[in-house]
């Protein structure tokens, strides 16, 4: 709680946190939507924002406000699946490589280094081309998870390496603590904040990729996400036809989401580094 209160004093954490809370509330509204997001033509097409349709309607005959609540919910779900599953991979790889060292370290780091230089985006496109029609929220989340752990595994590994050099490791090993117990009981508490901040970064990455893939039409386009909303808007030339409300809604929402996630992660990682914390010097 004290940590949380300290963090809230940082304007970036403050705004990031509240924007994210608002996004979650917004996504939660989707459960009360009067319209079915899979049906077209539920409302009149191409209406400007009005009292009845707060954010207007689109050329598919859908209410943009309620579609947006589904879009935020689905995009966040994709990001969360991608983030959590890739955390499991990243933490396992990072901890095993960092703690065991030697051969297993070299092999695992080779794999993650390779993932870093291989054009991941193109690989994902290749896969997505083949399973385009089954690219739903879960499969996209899992696909992104498979590719999104390499960098974070490196970060976690280097933290474990430095923890392994600390005295308490020797004390614990000498007093007969098992490897698994040591890693879970002693290392996890230190690594949790780092894992959390990499989770946030990874979620932002996943949302960005989801949007890119959707714009290219590589998703199941009947699922409302921030990306598919943009896809339809671009597809119907909404910019040229002056239907700004249709384009602006997903863009504004995604920008807010990106800023919120980024500010949260910057603020947390700054808090983690005490050297930088103390640099915030008061002049008297």
């Amino acid at each position: 709680m004290k940590v949380f209160r300290d963090l809230l004093r940082d304007y970036r954490f403050f705004w990031g946190f509240w924007i994210l809370v608002m996004m979650l509330v917004f996504a939660g509204l989707s459960y009360f939507s009067p319209y079915d997001p899979t049906l077209w033509g539920e409302v009149p097409r191409d209406m400007r924002p009005s009292a009845e349709h707060w954010l207007g309607t689109d050329s598919n005959g859908q209410d943009i406000f309620w579609m947006a609540t589904f879009a935020v919910r689905n995009s966040l779900t994709i990001a969360l699946i991608a983030g959590l599953v890739s955390r499991v991979i990243a933490v396992t790889v990072g901890m095993v490589a960092g703690y065991l060292g030697g051969k297993s370290d070299r092999v695992l780091m080779f794999v993650s280094d390779s993932l870093l230089v291989i054009p991941l985006f193109l690989m994902i496109v290749l896969l997505a081309m083949l399973i385009r029609n089954s690219m739903n929220v879960v499969s996209l989340g899992l696909l992104l998870a498979i590719f999104g752990w390499a960098w974070d595994a490196r970060l976690i590994r280097s933290q474990i390496l430095s923890l392994r050099e600390r005295d308490f490791t020797k004390t614990a090993v000498l007093s007969g603590t098992g490897t698994l117990r040591l890693v879970i009981n002693e290392y996890m508490p230190y690594s949790t904040p780092l894992i959390f901040s990499t989770l946030i970064n990874n979620m932002a990455w996943a949302i960005g990729l989801e949007i890119t893939l959707a714009i290219l039409g590589l998703l199941d386009l009947s699922i409302p996400t921030l990306g598919t909303m943009l896809y339809w808007a671009i597809n119907y030339q909404a910019v040229l036809l002056g239907r700004w409300w249709w384009v602006l809604t997903p863009i504004t929402l995604s920008i807010l989401l990106f800023i919120a996630l980024y500010w949260l992660s910057v603020s947390i990682s700054e808090y983690l580094d005490p050297r930088r914390r103390v640099q915030r010097v008061g002049a008297a």
Binding site: R12, F110, D113, S114, L116, V117, I118, P119, F121, L122, M123, V125, L126, L127, M129, L130, I131, A204, G208, I211, T212, I215, L216, G217, L218, V239, I251, S254, I255, F258, I259, L261, Y262, W263, V266, R275, R276, Q279
Partner: protein, 334 residues
């Protein structure tokens, strides 16, 4: 020592990454139960692509070959590499029968020219700004720049492309918003053409560079701030070394090292990093080529671009890895 501990592992990694990457490209279409050839053809038909019957047969044999579906898996795999070794990436089928390699080579100079210059320009400007902002971290302008970077940094790169397109297509028409050069102009080393290319690349370049500068600015600022706290800087100060020397020979020199590695990784993104920017500005580079391949279901072309990118990126990273020891004696002598 340097050879054994630094150079050789990097060469081995280089070879292995190419090997595994291209093997993955070989395996991916095979992961699915249904026949990828008929699937692709089906997709082509579903999109209403008009193909003459003669071309269809050629495409089927070509696809069968490219996916390597003749003989056992092992035979297929060997044949796959043999074709690659000849530089043969098969033919595109939405621009039948142009070889994929020709399409790539036509688009390549546009993308490399655009992204190489913008990446390097953004790197230089971002680092210079970041270095001074880190050194004068307490000053007002440094904090203001930091605030701007805080907002730009989280944006996806294509936001700026959309924004600039809207601004310059509708509000002020100072720069062309589409294409790589004036329509109908013959490419060549003459001033008129180069001028036209530069003129057309201005907006896409700017949209890419904005984000790049913010990224380099932020990392450089952080690195400089931490280098200033290092004991060698403190020691030099306490020994009365002039501030000019401290800044140039101690702080900036050391802060640049991680940025060089960062440049290597971002060079890797050149081949897929500005896809949507190219689409937005209809820029005739690899991104637009890839986009057309995707919307036309041209699997062969996408495979070709992927294989080419694996090759190009790993080579770019290898080159930077080989140059890096020139800057860091700790790697040269250890």
């Amino acid at each position: 020592m340097f050879f054994r501990r630094y150079l050789i592992p990097r060469f081995i990694q280089y070879i292995l990454v190419i090997f595994f990457g291209i093997t993955a490209v070989f395996i991916i279409p095979r992961l699915l139960p249904n026949d990828p050839v008929m699937r692709t053809i089906g997709e082509l038909r579903a999109r209403g692509a008009t193909l003459e019957p003669g071309a269809m047969d050629k495409i089927i044999t070509d696809l069968t070959q490219m996916y390597g579906l003749e003989g056992s898996w092992f035979d297929q795999y060997i044949a796959f590499w043999q074709r690659l070794a000849r530089g043969d990436l098969g033919v595109s089928f939405f621009q039948f029968p142009t070889p994929v390699s020709t399409l790539i080579l036509t688009a390549l100079p546009w993308t490399v020219g655009l992204l190489l210059t913008t990446t390097i320009l953004a790197w230089i400007i971002g680092n210079v700004l970041g270095a001074f902002a880190g050194y004068y971290a307490g000053s007002r302008w440094s904090q203001a720049l930091d605030g701007v970077a805080m907002v730009i940094r989280p944006m996806p790169y294509y936001i700026f492309a959309f924004a600039l397109l809207l601004l310059f297509a509708y509000a002020v028409r100072w720069f062309p918003v589409s294409g790589g050069a004036k329509l109908g102009m013959q490419p060549g080393w003459n001033w008129a053409f180069i001028q036209s290319v530069l003129w057309h690349s201005f907006l896409p370049a700017l949209s890419i560079a904005i984000l790049g500068m913010a990224v380099w600015f932020q990392t450089m600022k952080l690195v400089v701030q931490s280098v200033v706290g290092e004991s060698y800087v403190q020691y030099a100060r306490l020994s009365g070394v002039t501030e000019r020397k401290i800044v140039s020979r101690y702080v900036f020199r050391n802060a640049l090292l991680p940025q060089i590695t960062g440049l290597a990784l971002s060079l890797g993104l050149i081949f897929s990093g500005a896809l949507i920017t190219e689409i937005v500005f209809s820029y005739p580079g690899l991104g637009t080529l890839l986009y057309r391949a995707i919307i036309n279901g041209d699997y062969n072309l996408i495979m070709g671009i992927t294989i080419f990118s694996i090759f190009a990126i790993t080579t770019a990273v290898l080159i930077v890895d080989l140059i890096y020891p020139l800057f860091d004696p700790r790697i040269r002598y250890s």
